[in-house]
């Protein structure tokens, strides 16, 4: 019994060390954001900002185009999520509730598309969107994000719809409602948690997306917040680490809040069904 307790203590110590190592970059970002400049630039690091300052946050949000690009990100994300959820819900119902010719092909495409490396599609998307004057406008980016948000959303929502007991839906049909009526009255409320989880995922991927936003949006006034953040380092010879970390912290906040709410669902979606073997 004693050996067992000792072993548990050892594992706990290993676990705590790993916790510190993993969390350190996040801690360092937040800690730096609140430090005074002389502490940041000193050769001996200050671990905790004992006299925290909000100056860097002020600097960050007053940099050119910060609010403008936050606004762009919000618009892109909101439209992408709204459109993706509506369309994905319809397709997910079809996949979960009907057997039809082409169903298998549709599944293969939905999964296959998620496998395409984003980088591989930059060139044709850029050329095609340029032809229809969709480069350097937010709508071009929204259209692009839909291609990534849709397959994942369809796949995940399908899982949630399958989880609903068939009796409930049949009961509604016996009541005399049409099949579609049954969907709307019975399915929709039951699938609501799934819709929330899926939209949060779509929210996070669009908010974090970088490479397409960078290639499709050239004007500083049109860019999204990740692109804004990526150009931060290049602006001057002396890097303002404090402001950069403050801006990074601000960018992370919405993601962390939403992510904490639904991380289990995301893991479920990405490996859908595999856990059950």
């Amino acid at each position: 019994m004693n050996g067992r307790t000792a072993r548990k203590t050892l594992w706990n110590v290993v676990g705590l060390v790993l916790f510190v190592v993993m969390i350190f970059p996040v801690f360092w970002m937040i800690s730096t954001a609140f430090k005074a400049d002389d502490q940041i630039n000193s050769l001996t690091p200050t671990w905790f900002p004992l006299h925290p300052t909000l100056a860097h946050f002020g600097d960050a949000i007053h940099k050119p185009f910060f609010w403008n690009d936050v606004e762009n990100s919000v618009i892109v994300v909101a439209v992408t999520v709204a459109v993706a959820m509506t369309l994905a819900f319809l397709a997910a119902v079809a996949l979960a509730k009907y057997r039809f010719t082409g169903r298998k092909l549709f599944i293969v495409l939905m999964i296959g598309i998620q496998m395409l490396p984003g980088a591989g599609l930059i060139i044709p998307l850029y050329v095609v969107l340029a032809r229809y004057h969709q480069v350097n406008v937010l709508s071009g980016v929204i259209i692009t994000y839909l291609t990534f948000a849709l397959p994942f959303s369809v796949w995940t929502l399908r899982g949630f719809i399958l989880g609903i007991p068939k009796d409930l839906e049949e009961a509604a049909m016996v009541d005399g409602s049409s099949r579609l009526g049954a969907f709307v009255r019975i399915l929709l409320p039951l699938v609501a948690p799934g819709l929330v989880a899926t939209s949060v995922f779509a929210f996070i991927t669009s908010w974090n997306e970088y490479i397409f936003a960078r290639t499709l949006l050239n004007d500083q006034s049109k860019q999204t917040i990740t692109v804004w953040l990526s150009y931060f380092l290049g602006t001057s010879r002396h890097t303002d680490w404090g402001a950069l970390m403050a801006a990074s912290t601000l960018t992370v906040i919405p993601v962390v809040i939403f992510f904490l709410l639904v991380q289990r669902r995301i893991a479920f979606g990405l490996t859908a069904g595999a856990v059950r073997g």
Partner: protein
């Protein structure tokens, strides 16, 4: 009725993905630079672009480097992820909750943010990494430049990618491990030798499907990786000596506005990735079909 429901998604995916994929193939057979972009019309040149790419030593070097990089990243991610998941089972509940919370926090970090934080940690002037390594007497890292050689650059990129991917892998494997009968896990705690054998004989077969999918996903993500190497190494230091496929494609195809050649590179990349992901797609389709 089902067709009506699927139609909008098919229509959207068709126009915004089907058409670009079609035009990717067409572009790869054309000379398509800036003048052609302005006129919206390429010049057909057959397989010339593919010839250019396949005869370019940079392509082969980049491909080889990317494969080595992918193997190292996937190996580290999966190996450490499995160990981390096994650790999660063995620690006390409060440590598990703490560690899981930390992992989820790391998981939620956007790539661009993570890159900027790592930039700051590894910066040569007063990065905290150099300070800590020197203080731990692991050598003199005072003002050590982590971006001096290709190997060092890609090692830092690897560390960043593995750090970012570990939470997803560890948490998913942990979920899979919870299906392994509790008595076996606890029995495995008794002595070392038996616990290793139990892992390979009992635990591994149960979590194999999950490992398969995680490995496939990791290969796909790491092979096409762009944001981390591109931003961490930084534009002025990016070049043929440290290209990975994603960066190579961006620099040669997009920045040099040689869209035809870029399309050829994309197609070669997609073919390689498709070959690697067959296992994953087949498995997912089977799951989708069974239900």
């Amino acid at each position: 009725m089902p067709y009506l429901l699927v139609l909008p998604v098919v229509a959207v995916m068709g126009t915004i993905l089907g058409y670009p994929i079609y035009s990717l193939v067409r572009l790869s057979l054309q000379r398509y630079g800036l003048p052609e972009l302005v006129q919206h019309k390429g010049v057909y040149i057959g397989l010339h672009n593919f010839g250019l790419v396949l005869h370019d030593a940079v392509f082969w070097h980049t491909l080889f480097r990317t494969i080595v990089f992918t193997v190292a990243n996937v190996g580290l991610t999966m190996g450490l992820g499995i160990l981390l998941a096994l650790l999660l089972i063995r620690v006390s509940t409060w440590v598990r909750i703490l560690l899981t919370a930390g992992l989820v926090l790391v998981w939620s970090m956007p790539q661009v943010v993570a890159v900027q934080v790592w930039n700051w940690i590894t910066n040569y002037q007063n990065g905290v990494l150099n300070y800590v390594l020197t203080e731990l007497h692991l050598g003199n890292y005072f003002q050590h430049n982590w971006y001096g050689t290709t190997f060092s650059q890609l090692s830092i990129v690897t560390a960043l990618i593995v750090w970012g991917a570990l939470p997803f892998v560890a948490i998913t494997v942990y979920a899979a491990l919870s299906q392994v009968p509790r008595e076996l896990v606890e029995a495995a705690d008794i002595d070392g030798a038996r616990s290793v054998r139990l892992f390979f004989d009992v635990t591994l077969p149960i979590i194999r499907p999950v490992l398969l999918i995680l490995t496939s996903l990791s290969i796909l993500w790491d092979f096409g990786v762009f944001t981390q190497p591109f931003l961490l190494i930084g534009q002025p230091h990016i070049g043929p000596s440290n290209y990975l496929m994603g960066v190579y494609l961006y620099e040669e195809g997009y920045l040099k506005t040689d869209f035809g050649r870029g399309a050829a590179i994309s197609i070669l990349m997609l073919v390689i990735v498709a070959a690697m992901s067959v296992v994953y797609v087949r498995r997912m389709v089977r799951i989708g079909d069974a239900e």
